[in-house]
Amino acid sequence: MSTYIYAILPADRPLNLDGLQGVGKEPTALRTLSSDKLTAVVSEAPEDLRAKRRDVLAHQAVQERLLADGSVLPMRFGLVGPNDEAVLAELDAQADAYLHRLEAIGDCIEYNLKASRDESDLLREVVAESDLVRDLNERTRKNPQAQGDKVALGQAISQEVERLEKRDASTVINGLAPSAQQYATADVPQAHFLNVSFLVPRASAAEFCDRVDEMAKRLEPVFQLSLRGPLPPYSFV
């Protein structure tokens, strides 16, 4: 029977898995597999496991519970080992690497921040900054049939948008990075210019959130920040 793995944590950590259920249509019971130094939280892997809402939520709920009690290495959703013995063998074989990872993360949690900017405002800045865009904008407004000019205008805007979004992104990151231990950027979702996760010491999480809040207040309403956390350090393992 194959084994679904949720997380790896130090073996000497007390665990409270009461009331939690594993993934699967018929929820599986959570249990632990421990080597000398590490514990893996696992359950039986359902035969037909897919990334259903219910299952992703179950995976995430386990992470949140474990995170409440200390540092943890969260597994990506859907990781399945051939059996318990193989998981235990992996814990033994890679013990040093996992312990090192746990130590590096320390007592830190992840916060994910996404940022967007009102598009009209962004375009007004593009127009203000670029002579070429202003010129092409005038021409295409007077002559809406000029497809070539329109494409050239769009291309020029696109380049400026990229530059300004990059600047906006690094300004936001630089404003928050001093309150975090590390950060990791990721693919930016539609209509946003920034998707970044910060690794924040638990002890200063409130300070970090205040800093985001203060920044958000200054940026509104043109810029919108959306903060999600605390999360297990998905982006830093």
Partner: protein
């Protein structure tokens, strides 16, 4: 700002609500630790997530959309001056490196030159760039990692 509920309870873990699931889906599905020798369940059927990731802006369709949005700008918003992020929150790359006095001064200079340049009429309610002094601000090294 949208703050997901448990953001103000850093040590709590009571969440698990489904309202914010979408926000963390990419983290749960795309990040987190993997063990190379083990298999992952098929994610077939949830590629829909990926569609939402922004396509590269370099396409003729995008160019034309930008061009038309730009053509329409004045009709929608008149001559409203754009916001500049560094005016709103300061250029944080300089925080700590310069004293507060210099920060406040150059902030004011920027605000003035902006209003001269743009002829902006709504600058009055904007705050000049503010810079934090180094006191009370912890500097830790941050490492950039590409996901």
């Amino acid at each position: 700002m949208t703050v997901v509920p448990q953001a103000n309870a850093p040590t709590g873990g009571s969440g698990g609500g489904s309202s914010g699931l979408y926000d963390v889906l990419e983290l749960v599905l795309d990040r987190g630790l993997v063990i190379d020798a083990f298999v992952r369940v098929s994610l077939v059927g949830i590629e829909i997530l990926k569609i939402d990731i922004r396509v590269v802006v370099a396409s003729v369709d995008t160019y034309l959309r930008f061009a038309e949005a730009c053509n329409r700008l004045d009709l929608e918003s008149g001559n409203k001056a754009p916001s500049k992020i560094t005016d709103l929150i300061g250029d944080a790359t300089e925080s700590g490196a310069h004293g507060k006095t210099k920060g406040a001064l150059s902030g004011a200079v920027e605000a003035i030159s902006d209003s001269l340049k743009g002829g902006g009429d709504d600058d009055d309610d904007r705050e000049p760039a503010q810079r934090k002094s180094s006191s009370g601000t912890r500097r830790t090294t941050s490492r950039r990692r590409e996901a």
